[in-house]
Symmetry: C2
DNA sequence: ATTTTTATTGACTATTTAGTCGATTATGAC
DNA sequence: GTCATAATCGACTAAATAGTCAATAAAAAT
């Protein structure tokens, strides 16, 4: 029956995500994952080609979830400022709701691995993520605006959010992070608008 | 004689830094390091307790270098704005001049490893780095200002710079990164000043 | 030049880990 | 209930890696 297999697959993904977030992708072992998932070691290899494969699947999932946050608003933001603020809120909510996925996406190696053989497969979801931000913003801009400028903006949003939280996590309590984000958000939005000549 | 030992130690550190930046700390092996340094495997263990130990030493060095950039200015910045701009410039110069150290400091695992047994030893240089930024900024602020607010600012500076570059690196060419930083810098500085009620 | 001290070496052992595969168990159809 | 199929298991092999240590070489002291 497929139901059992589906459940097992889910358990494996959940366990892997937890271990990756806790110890980093590199340091995690297959046996840690299968033990945490409470399944035999061989089972993982029925569902995934190898550790790399499960990483890619999890990153794809995480990016899809994050994009879900980015796309969800009650009514479309009216102005660019509102959209930028929405984007920051979406990232923040994502990091709170899916801490493990946030930590997975943020692991430096995944972002910066410049000489990996799986570069392309892992690169794809990240570029899809940047592209999504660009699409959301483009709606508010003249079509003649330099695409490179929009790409920069997407990088800045992503970089600011990920970077800020990563450093906040070593120096702040969880509540402090939350209360820090709010005042920074508005001012950061203003910066971005200035950058776009808005 | 100590000179030979010192030279060997230097070679090992250089090799380790390169390998860590290229493949990540976790993925690097001791033999890769010693082979790149062109010394026997056992030699590494004469100089360092284990891989963890060499990581800590390298992170300490990198933080010291970065702090050097932060402290060096011809004449002390006159206003808070100038100091903040100096801080961003210092980070940028550091990332350009010492790309490998930048990549080492930025590896997610080092920033986010929440349940490591070497947490304290690795945490120390990072906190020292944040403290340095706080000291620089405090000069321009009333002593009654909330230290937490300053800590937030330090996190924001560090997070913005590291995060922005990390994302820029997967989506931009090196020249594009450089030209993107300039316009963002000024506006980011304004945000930070607003945040501090300046 | 000889001895002592210091530094280096790399073959070796022990350990860890990935990945395999035949045995075993659960599920659903009949 | 019996059989066929799908899913799971975990002991096993092969490979990679960490860390050791007796032998060797280089440097310094005498």
């Amino acid at each position: 029956m497929q139901k059992r297999a589906k459940r097992t697959r889910k358990k494996l993904k959940k366990a892997a995500l937890d271990v990756f977030a806790e110890k980093s992708v590199d340091a995690a072992t297959v046996e840690e994952i299968t033990e945490k998932a409470d399944v035999g070691k061989g089972t993982l290899y029925e569902h995934f080609a190898d550790k790399e494969d499960i990483v890619i699947k999890l990153v794809e999932d995480a990016v899809n979830h994050l994009i879900g946050y980015i796309r969800s608003y009650d009514s479309a933001p009216e102005m660019l400022e509102d959209m930028l603020e929405h984007l920051l809120n979406a990232h923040y909510s994502f990091s709170v709701d899916s801490r493990e996925e946030f930590l997975l996406l943020f692991q430096g190696k995944l972002l910066l691995r410049l000489e990996s053989d799986t570069f392309d497969e892992l690169e794809e979801p990240y570029l899809r993520y940047l592209g999504e931000i660009e699409d959301q913003i483009s709606t508010y801009l003249s079509p003649r605006i330099d695409p490179l400028k929009i790409r920069r903006l997407a990088c800045a949003v992503a970089g600011f959010v990920f970077g800020f939280f990563s450093f906040a996590m070593i120096g702040m309590s969880e509540e402090e992070v939350e209360s820090s984000v709010k005042p920074l958000r508005r001012t950061f939005v203003k910066s971005l608008c200035t950058f776009l000549g808005w």
